[in-house]
């Protein structure tokens, strides 16, 4: 029998977010690999399937996460090649800020296997609901925190800025599980080129267990270095400036409107 792969999202909160299709893929799989953020969530997956293998074993302090992610893909693909129905069950959305699911699906398809991704409710989805923000109101940009620091990103202080994996901000080694105050201070200095130091930012953590309290802590940008930051903490920076009109484009559009009106008056009535 031909192997197949489904990378499914189980959402952020245990029990609350998994969709019927994701659950069905898990229940009908030959083997399930789990990439989740909480041991109790892994136990929940184990209740759904008798052969759940944690991808947690591939992480190690001091080991490059590039290697970790490659090993995850290799482990998943090895089972697909054996003709099994393989599921990768990932917390949140399997395609959002997640390299291993994307690479696994690409590799499986390249070898001729069927491979699909089933979306899940992501951390961003929860953030929008919990903080009551609409990314369409002012726009929203989001980056992995370290990537935001390593590269000269063009970002707009008139929209929301979301930085993920803030607990690892500035990690060049790709081998740590956390960076600290000094690294965050560098990030603060970078952000302070654009935002006032007293600008209010938000530290956000979604509920993973139904008993968890959502974290939505407001603090000044300058206080970020001393704040308590975990692996799953996200930094949300609301706009600090008003959106600025674009007069050049507005003028072009006004000319177009005028031209349309003239055209309309030239159309003969029947």
């Amino acid at each position: 029998m031909a192997g197949s792969l489904a990378c499914v999202g189980i959402g952020m909160t245990l029990g609350a977010h998994i969709c019927p299709l994701a659950r069905s893929y898990i229940e009908q799989a030959d083997v399930v690999f789990s990439g989740v953020s909480n041991g109790i969530v892994e136990l929940w997956l184990q209740e759904m399937h008798g052969d759940v293998r944690s991808l947690q074993v591939y992480y190690d302090e001091g080991k490059s996460r590039h290697v970790t992610y490659r090993e995850m893909v290799d482990a998943i693909l090895a089972e697909v090649r054996q003709g099994k129905k393989v599921v990768g069950a990932f917390y949140g959305h399997p395609g959002v800020f997640a390299q291993a699911p994307h690479r696994s699906i690409e590799a499986a398809r390249a070898e001729g296997f069927e491979a699909v991704m089933v979306p899940g409710i992501s951390a961003e989805d929860c953030l929008i609901a919990d903080l009551g923000i609409d990314p369409g109101q002012f726009g929203c940009q989001q980056f992995e925190a370290s990537q935001f620091m390593f590269y000269q990103r063009r970002f707009d202080p008139s929209c929301y800025l979301i930085l993920w994996q803030i607990g690892l901000a500035g990690d060049k080694s790709m081998a740590r599980f956390a960076t600290g105050k000094a690294h965050r201070q560098v990030l603060i200095e970078l952000l302070a080129e654009t935002y006032p130091l007293d600008h209010q930012v938000i530290l956000y953590e979604a509920a993973v267990l139904p008993i968890d309290k959502v974290r939505k802590q407001s603090l000044a940008l300058r206080e970020l270095a001393d704040a308590e930051i975990f692996m799953h903490t996200t930094l949300v920076i609301p706009p600090s400036e008003k959106m600025r009109p674009n007069p050049t484009i507005l003028e072009k559009l006004a000319k177009l409107e005028t031209a349309h009106r003239v055209d309309d008056t030239l159309i003969p009535e029947n």
Partner: protein, 86 residues
């Protein structure tokens, strides 16, 4: 499904269990140990995980800040590949 995991799943997916009072009542009526009831009521996820012989926080980073290609010496080719991949 074990009672505690079943209860957590219900708490996650039942609209009637989204208020403090209904949660407390359901926990009281559940068939789990009194120790686990107290951990749920006091929202002690870490200790609940310990009682289930697992860990609350496990490593879950899934995205690298830099693509591996960026580490290679042939930066021009790498940049091109990264751009195509976006």
């Amino acid at each position: 499904m074990s009672n505690i995991i079943q209860l957590l799943e219900r708490m996650g997916q039942d609209a009637a269990l989204q208020t403090e009072d209904s949660i407390l009542q359901t926990i009281d009526e559940s068939q789990i140990s009194s120790e686990q009831k107290e951990l749920l009521k006091s929202r002690k996820g870490d200790e609940l995980a310990e009682s289930l012989k697992t860990s609350k926080d496990i490593i879950c980073f899934l995205i690298p800040a830099k693509d591996e290609d960026d580490e290679s010496e042939n930066s021009e080719e790498s940049d091109e590949k990264s751009a195509v991949n976006q």
